[in-house]
Symmetry: C2
Subunit: 373 residues, 2 copies
Amino acid sequence: MNVPAFSDLNPPTRILLGPGPGMTHPRVVRVLTAPTLGHLDPELLKIYSEEQELLRYVFQTKNEWTFALSGTGTSGMESALTNLIEPGDLVLACVHGYFGARLAEIAERLGATVDRIEKPLGQIFSVDEIEAALKKKKYKLMTIVHAETSTGAEQLHIKEIAAAAHKNGVLIVLDTVTSLGGIPVKIDEWDIDMAYSASQKNLGAPSGLAPITVGPRAREIIEKRAKPVSSFYLDLKQYANYWGGAHGYHHTASASLHFGLREGLRVIAEEGLDHTFARLRSNAEMLWNGLEDMDIPPFIPMEYRLPPLTTAKVPAGCDPHEVRARLLDEYNIEIAAGFGALKDQVWRIGLMGYSSRKENITLFLAALKELLK
Amino acid sequence: MNVPAFSDLNPPTRILLGPGPGMTHPRVVRVLTAPTLGHLDPELLKIYSEEQELLRYVFQTKNEWTFALSGTGTSGMESALTNLIEPGDLVLACVHGYFGARLAEIAERLGATVDRIEKPLGQIFSVDEIEAALKKKKYKLMTIVHAETSTGAEQLHIKEIAAAAHKNGVLIVLDTVTSLGGIPVKIDEWDIDMAYSASQKNLGAPSGLAPITVGPRAREIIEKRAKPVSSFYLDLKQYANYWGGAHGYHHTASASLHFGLREGLRVIAEEGLDHTFARLRSNAEMLWNGLEDMDIPPFIPMEYRLPPLTTAKVPAGCDPHEVRARLLDEYNIEIAAGFGALKDQVWRIGLMGYSSRKENITLFLAALKELLK
């Protein structure tokens, strides 16, 4: 067998303005090089406890079961569902984009009977629409995406939607992958039963960890399950026993990734959530104004437009994919195509975490202007 | 809500001589700081293709479906099983330690009917024992651990065991978490249907990625499944479509971790597998001789003793946990306790990847000698 020989790793320095990952914060990059620790080292357990407190701060929750899972945001999504769902359960999936549909698909794979209500891409649900659907059957849980990365729409009224769910005896699972650390997420005030996110968007860390938080109703269901969760890897009872309690072995978590996430969260805590959100919004407005000036209007109405992810309408006669390729090749700027039916109609431009800086926006707008000349 | 404030991250510099993680290779540490890439960046796809070629080299296979999953070794274990098992399938689990038992548990969680055959901790199976068990029922697959991290025993005769499995129409899933890159693993020569490992043991990278390789029989079963795999996150068809084919989006893989794993694999390829194995074995012999000299004999007979993980009998009258704690506190050396019934009887001393260096062994033996005075 041939021995493969490859050159040194020298990836280009990208300016990541896509739907995630955002750029790794330089403070996070530095801690990645700290000497690694064993997964049961008392010093790592201390770091977990600090990381938990920081996660509770960004989630705005007191939930004891608040961890970072050893996987990407999709592992958080799957863990939320696999811990709550048993085969035959009824699930209401509110779908206003690709990630809402992914939640429905995962619930079905787990043996749930899933009813979908759907909005066209770029729209969001009213509380009434969800309330009406909740009344139709005796659902165990409902799923909804707070910030749809596929469209750039923020689902508003989450507090009212959660109240409607609970009035009907239904749990609410909230996807906060693109919202956490980017716009306000208030788990306790909104009374959310389960929410998960990802380390590589607004939290400034590399991908590979999925923050998750479990409210009291969801925790009780998990603790009282008769049948074990079908996934051992994503079993939240095992996580609770590893991060807390007896600190029993479950899997070999990546100390290096936890170093990074703790640092990314610390950057946010030092600036403060409110200041962070205000800065990210002001940067997004700069992008939106610049796009409007070039007759490339954002696709989502201002009322529920997401600062961390903007969809912008491709001008007539322009090949959106060629522009994307040239931004990457000539300027090292990554943006993304639209999703699904929006593939040729919009670009997706992310301003997530450390990617959201004025210099990146100015460069992006100037580069786009040159390419569209 | 209080804003948590924590100090800069300054973990101690541990010498990791436990059951994994091994120490991160300094070349790997350096590439972790390379600017990160989006999960669909053409430059990352090139890196995947090189990483695949390197993984095929350490697995000694031509299997096209050879990837690194976005999770720890346990995610590899779970992926191997969830992609092959459908509820009601018959599984034969050969258990000669904790990880063999974990395979059985995961198979049961997935709805398989699992028969276990067991060996006392520290022993391995003969081919005859497995062959006799294989004949009892019409099993779909059998599971076995190549290098039991809980005991330090190498299961020999894997090629003959695989042949026995195939003679009976049974697939073989092999756990190579502690063997890959540490002792010879020959997927194609042994005709293994599915094997998985972990990035943080002999491959010198941080935890967080699970190399996996899928042979033709297993791949055919997966491609022909009527029902989708219950786990979307660990669905190997989705991985095949992300790493190859259309490079379709599946999840946001961690470019930083892939940079690290590629570099760890490159270190091995540059030294060559045979030289790597010979060096690791010679280092382990140095440890074994040193332990024998101190009347702390290894627990596993030489015939199937694992260089990457040694279990050593705790001397009479010695508190093994106090010694471990003092090694960590006073010398920054991590070793582990025994597993399960062996908890108070043995220490587990790992010499994995970059941890396996003469200077570490000399220091460990000298420190242990001081503590046992």
